[in-house]
Amino acid sequence: MLRDLRASVVAGVVLTLAFGLAVPAAFTGFAQVAFRHEANGSLVTVNGTVVGSSLAAQSFTKPKYFHERPSATSPAYNAAGTTFSNLGPTNPALAKLVAQQAAAVLKLERPYNPGLTIHDIPVDAVTPSGSGIDPDISPAYAALQSRRIAAVRHLPLATVRKLIEEHTTGRSLGFFGEPGVDVLQLNIALDKVGGS
């Protein structure tokens, strides 16, 4: 018993120093040199200012920007407090949330998309994401928003569609996962192209 205890204390110290400090410190040092951008959170800068991370959604409410998926974090798109919505499949609160989101999308987009109905809204546009900071929207949701962007910015629709295509991440290595459109990068590109 005492023998085991003594051994446990010694092993505890050795293992904590090795796996808790030495290995992470060495690996962090290596990562900071080899993958500086990624290891620091894939931060995106515009004119020298950090405007976000390509791996985190941020709040977009203005009509000239593509909008993100709904977020359950508090406040929305909190990249320091991720959370699921945890709304069960039969929860009336989910039904209410989806209805509200769908109504908001219709209200925002219909002026530019006459004839748009709720059946045209892709499901990711009205459901909270897993992380609350899902940086992507589906290509379908981006396409839905493209007419508004083109109209508000006085850009040809083809230009906006081309930008969407350029910022669509395909399946990784052409195979894994699902395609998505990185909203922050797309909006930065839009700002560069201009339009009012």
């Binding site: 205890l5 990249a79 709304l87 039904a95 989806v98 499901v123 990784s172």
Partner: protein
């Protein structure tokens, strides 16, 4: 659906292709009297010297179990203490306060038992010191303990007339240094190259395009992620776990992380086959596990793609195709879609991993029942590192016992006669946890204190509670995450995790001790063959009949009711 099915098939092939050679390698790690070259050998002997053990001196099952218990209790106290003191210690750039005592206790139990149940949001509760020296160390160590115990149990099965099972310190050291460390460094390297942060700088602050401020949590994420996935740990750096892009940035990392969930548990089946010289038998065990895994994905994927009642009724477009994955996207990420989230949910609950890349609470009734059943059968569908296979041994013994009853012979397994003592250990190992889980759920669901944790209304709330105790009792750690932390649920969970870890572990070691002392009897015409497809059917049947039937009444109150009334 086609692309999704192809991804799942490719996953299965790659998993098997990697697990097999890894299994043979791991068999060498635990069998060789000296492993590695001169330098590595010197390091290992150095470790044994400072710990004060003679690597040549082996322990019997009681001594082995005692060392495991003392070692784990010691770390339990250390992990608790670090969380309580983190405010006064270093590596705390975001000024996290001391963790509340009941949560700290629950978290300590959670990480030393390889459960990684999280009643806290990592990025907003734990200092970097706590994440690294308390939690991530346990992600290595508790996984190493599981693997060490498995190695000892397998030795008991393979040896004849032997009193000892091996030396715990040597087994632990080898698990950590020759298996978990190299694999997690390789995986962490790929993850950081794809976008997992690895920094000691605190939160970043961004000035968003619309002029707001956004705080972005970072930290030493990549390395923790790697061992979290490989060691069937599951406790993430962020609250939303591997749904968060900083833990799991691309479809490719998602694939690798999903492989990592099952890699070592699948490999340990082949390791077992090599160590007991019964490779065909090991393939049959693998086949039984794989069949149950395939059934799980086969149910969860279509269920989630079909979508929930609320979404179908809402009128929005949930059809796959035309630029979206469709289906039940609530609490799921666009870059993974439905197939990869359903695959992950199945794999993470087959193994006792418990990491998630989407919210299980928001799964459909049928889709959410799959993880629940997977965990309830005792984490034996590949299962936890170490604990999964020794958990499966209980069912194998019950299976050969049932076969023996059918033909009226004393059952045998790998040349060992299975007698009353072994059956008792196997029964305790297989039945203790499900019994405990149902009891805790029942108490929780009829008391005000227990009900305070429930988040979703009606039948779904019952499922949340059942899932919480199933997950903790079986050391999985995934959650229907709406289930809330109260002092009551934290303490109940602590009990579930500790008993759920150590009762089966002690039963397995006792079983190994009993088997190790036996002689080998030559197989005869009446011996039930454990290396053919009949055995696979029998084994799956036994699992379904024991654990499956135990959970069925509870399932009818939760997912079944929910599925039927809508």
């Amino acid at each position: 659906m086609g692309q999704g099915i192809t991804q799942i098939l490719v996953y299965s092939v790659v998993l098997t292709g990697l697990a097999y050679p890894l299994g043979l390698y791991m068999a060498n790690v635990y069998s060789a009297s000296r492993f590695g070259g001169r330098l590595l050998g010197t390091l290992e002997r150095g470790f044994c010297r400072v710990v004060g053990t003679d690597p040549e001196r082996e322990q019997d099952w009681k001594s082995y179990a005692k060392t495991v218990l003392v070692f784990t209790i010691f770390f339990f106290l250390v992990v608790y203490a670090i969380q309580r003191l983190q405010a006064h210690l270093f590596l705390n750039p975001d000024h996290e306060k001391a963790v509340q005592p009941h949560i700290a206790l629950n978290t300590a139990a959670s990480f030393v038992t390889n459960t990684n149940w999280q009643f806290y949001g990592g990025e907003s509760t734990m200092s970097y010191l706590s994440q690294m020296t308390a939690l991530a160390v346990q992600q290595f160590v508790s996984a190493g303990v599981g693997m060490a115990v498995l190695a000892a149990v397998i030795r008991g099965i393979s040896r004849r007339s032997a009193a000892t099972l091996g030396n715990f310190w040597v087994d632990l050291y080898r698990s950590l240094v020759y298996i978990f460390l190299p694999l997690s460094l390789i995986l962490a390297l790929i993850l950081v190259s794809q976008g997992d942060p690895q920094t000691f700088g605190g939160h970043a602050v961004a000035h968003t395009l619309e002029g707001g401020l956004q705080e972005i949590a970072r930290g030493p994420v990549a390395l923790m992620l790697a061992i979290k996935q490989l060691g069937t740990n599951g406790g993430g750096f962020y609250n939303s776990n591997s749904a968060v892009p900083f833990e799991n940035p691309t479809g490719f990392t998602n694939f690798l992380e999903t492989i990592a969930i099952l890699l070592i548990p699948a490999g340990q089946v082949f390791m077992f086959g090599k160590m007991v010289l019964a490779r065909r038998h090991a393939w049959m065990v693998f086949a039984a596990m794989f069949a149950m895994f395939a059934i799980g994905v086969g149910v969860a994927f279509p269920a989630e793609q079909h979508g929930s009642q609320v979404l179908r009724a809402s009128g929005v477009n949930i059809t796959h195709g035309h630029g979206q994955s469709g289906g039940n996207m609530t609490d799921k990420e666009v870059r993974f879609g439905i197939a990869d989230t359903a695959l992950w949910a199945t794999a993470t609950t087959d193994a006792s991993n418990g990491s998630v890349n989407g919210g299980h609470d928001a799964f459909t009734a049928l889709g959410g029942a799959v993880p629940l059943v997977n965990i309830f059968v005792g984490e034996v569908i590949f299962g936890g590192v170490g604990s999964g296979l020794y958990g499966m041994f209980f069912y194998i013994i019950i299976a050969v016992f049932v076969a023996g009853l059918m033909v009226g012979r004393t059952p045998e397994w790998l040349g060992k006669k299975i007698e009353a003592r072994e059956i008792k250990y196997a029964a305790v190992g297989a039945l203790f946890v499900p019994t405990m889980v149902l009891t805790l759920t029942a108490i929780s669901i009829v008391t005000k204190l227990g009900l305070a944790s429930v988040y979703n209304p009606a039948a779904h709330g019952f499922t949340e509670t059942l899932y919480a105790y199933t997950s903790q009792g079986n050391n999985n750690g995934s959650a229907f995450a709406g289930f809330g932390a109260t002092n009551f649920s934290a303490d109940f969970g602590t009990v579930a995790m500790l008993l759920g870890r150590f009762m089966p572990m002690l039963a397995a070691l006792a079983l190994a001790g009993a088997l190790g002392q036996k002689k080998i009897v030559p197989a005869s015409a009446g011996t039930f063959r454990t290396d053919g497809p009949t055995f696979v059917v029998l084994l799956v049947g036994v699992i379904v009949l024991t654990a499956g039937l135990m959970v069925f009444p509870a399932l009818t109150l939760g997912p079944v009711v929910e599925g039927l009334i809508h």
